[in-house]
Amino acid sequence: MKTPSDLYTEDLTIQFGGHIAVNKVSCRFKPNELTVVVGPNGAGKTTLFNLMSGQLIATSGKVMLGDTDLTRLAPSQRAKQGIGRAFQLTNLFPKLSVLENVRLAVQAQAKVGMRIFTHAKSLKYLEQQAYEYLSQTRLEKVAHLPVSALSHGDQRKLEVALLMAMQPAVFMFDEPTAGMSIDEAPVILELIDQIKQDSSKIILLVEHKMDVVRALADRIIVLHNGELVADGEPEEVIAMPIVREIYLGNAA
């Protein structure tokens, strides 16, 4: 295992036509730190994530993981470097079974995807590992259902299970509990807390609910109109007037 390295951005910018969605964001994320990203709707949080995990390529600026320049790499190449991403809008394989979804994420780690004459089912250990992630996310009971038959809450859990199955160095959660019922959300928050126990992991979390932010954050960064407007200790950032004005004022 490599020594964990920092994930950082330098003047990261993306422009859609005339609209600058992320504007010169420079920020460093360290292992053993959970950073919550906040900001009003349309602030550029998801876009910033897309730039770091590779779904979008920056107009200018850099994304670095330690000494590795990720800026121009495809998402799959970043995933191999340890970037793991869960999505705000559920983004799964809808016709495949829940088990198969997770198995695919485990399989990507095992690097057997190019074997063409092995039967996939013969690689039992992949399936066993997949079951472990399913039990952690409490999805064993629905393991054999197609994803499209799951409730919204279970789909959100599966979204997290896929991320965990990637065993990444960097966990990026984009509003993981959005739309979940009050009794389902804690499962996910406990899992995030559990990942936090591993001091080598970098965790990024977009979250609106203030109680969640307070409970989990080591640090908060604030985005507004694509710019990084605040960065610091949770209590410090929450107390900042600019934050109250643009974010808490809006969200209240």
């Binding site: 495809a74 799959s76 394989f93 695919l104 994420a105 399989q107 057997v112 004459f117 499209s148």
Partner: protein
């Protein structure tokens, strides 16, 4: 159920030389074997990547012309088949890499247009380089001695070729069983690929490209790989067909209408199922070869009735073929195998 049908069809093909003794039946049976491989390889591409290419017959053609020109110029030896076919396969792979990479750069519709253009260029090239390819007339050649009808596999005391169930054990039979065995092996290999880790990745890419990429599968690489695998199988099918027919020309391996036929076979059988390839090929070939005969019988049987014999006139076979396609697509929207295999979840 679906796989039961597939097994019955393969068994039927295996026994066909003893069940049907006429030359035409043997031709149709061999054609079905080869086309199962060709259509399954096309299904690998369309069904497992969602990419519609009209350049698939070029891969088929490269294998066939590779073997054919070598047999023509080097003489009827196994070495000619291996060398010529090998060159054809390599060329098919090179072309597949180009087309595969292109498919990622451009939009789906535009890509389909480009493959159409490439396919027409191939047909033009074949007629231009007629010294080498035989142009419109194609190439005829001899094949290894084992496959000659005059070859006797078993002789009785008088030196006559032995018959089993009325079928002569001659070179033609050896040729048929070579076609059959090769096709079955290739088909099983493709089923294996579909069920391999690679196959599961392909299903993932087909379902959700973005997420497949995000969990670490390089979509470009996998797509290009499927293109190559699919091209190799199509090229080998071409080699087998060339050896079987002892003739290779644009009409047998390259024409645009073949590509339309195999597309129809994939769609009617069921995309992305592999079992559908077998069902689609058999249905279409039987229809193309025997519908007229059946209609002829129907017309004669109903000769005394009004109107019906007119409708059943064998000249109207295309009308009936078209009608049955429409009904098939209506009742089996995901193809025959596709609709039958679909899990019943609401």
């Amino acid at each position: 159920m679906v796989w039961g049908i597939v097994i019955v069809i393969w068994l039927g093909l295996a026994l066909s030389p003893f069940l049907f003794h006429d030359v035409r039946s043997q031709q149709v049976a061999a054609r079905i074997c080869v086309f199962i491989v060709l259509v399954a390889s096309y299904d690998l591409l369309i069904g497992y990547t969602g990419i519609v290419s009209f350049a698939h017959t070029i891969f088929f053609g490269l294998g066939a012309y590779g073997a054919a020109t070598a047999l023509r110029h080097m003489g009827p030896g196994w070495d000619a088949i291996v060398i010529g076919g090998g060159i054809g396969i390599v060329m098919a792979v090179i072309l597949a890499i180009f087309i595969g990479l292109l498919s990622l750069r451009v939009k789906a519709i535009f890509f389909t247009m480009v493959t159409l253009a490439v396919a027409s260029v191939a047909v033009v090239l074949v007629s231009q380089f007629s010294d080498f390819t035989g142009g419109e007339d194609g190439i005829t050649y001899k094949v290894p001695k084992l496959f000659k009808p005059a070859t006797k596999l078993l002789v009785d005391d008088d030196g006559h070729v032995v018959r089993w169930l009325g079928t002569k054990l001659n070179g033609k039979l050896a040729a048929f069983y070579s076609v059959f065995c090769m096709s079955l092996l290739l088909y099983l290999a493709m089923i294996r690929i579909v069920n391999s880790p690679l196959g599961t990745v392909l299903k993932a890419v087909r379902e959700n490209e973005t997420r497949a990429e995000a969990i670490g599968y390089r979509v470009v690489t996998y797509r290009t790989l499927v293109f190559c695998i699919s091209a190799v199988f199509a090229a080998i099918a071409g080699i087998i067909y060339a050896v079987w027919l002892k003739y290779t020309g644009p009409e047998t391996v390259l024409s645009f209408s073949i590509n339309i036929d195999i597309l129809l076979m994939v769609v009617i059988g069921g995309m992305g199922t592999m079992s559908g390839a077998v069902i689609g090929v058999v249905l279409l070939n039987l229809a193309q070869y025997y519908l007229r005969d059946i209609m002829q019988l129907g017309a004669e049987a109903t000769a005394n009735l009004p109107l019906i014999p007119e409708l059943l006139n064998p000249d109207r076979w295309l009308l009936w073929l078209g009608l049955s396609f429409i009904l098939l697509v209506y009742f089996f929207p995901a193809g025959i195998a596709g609709t039958m295999l679909k899990p019943r979840v609401k």
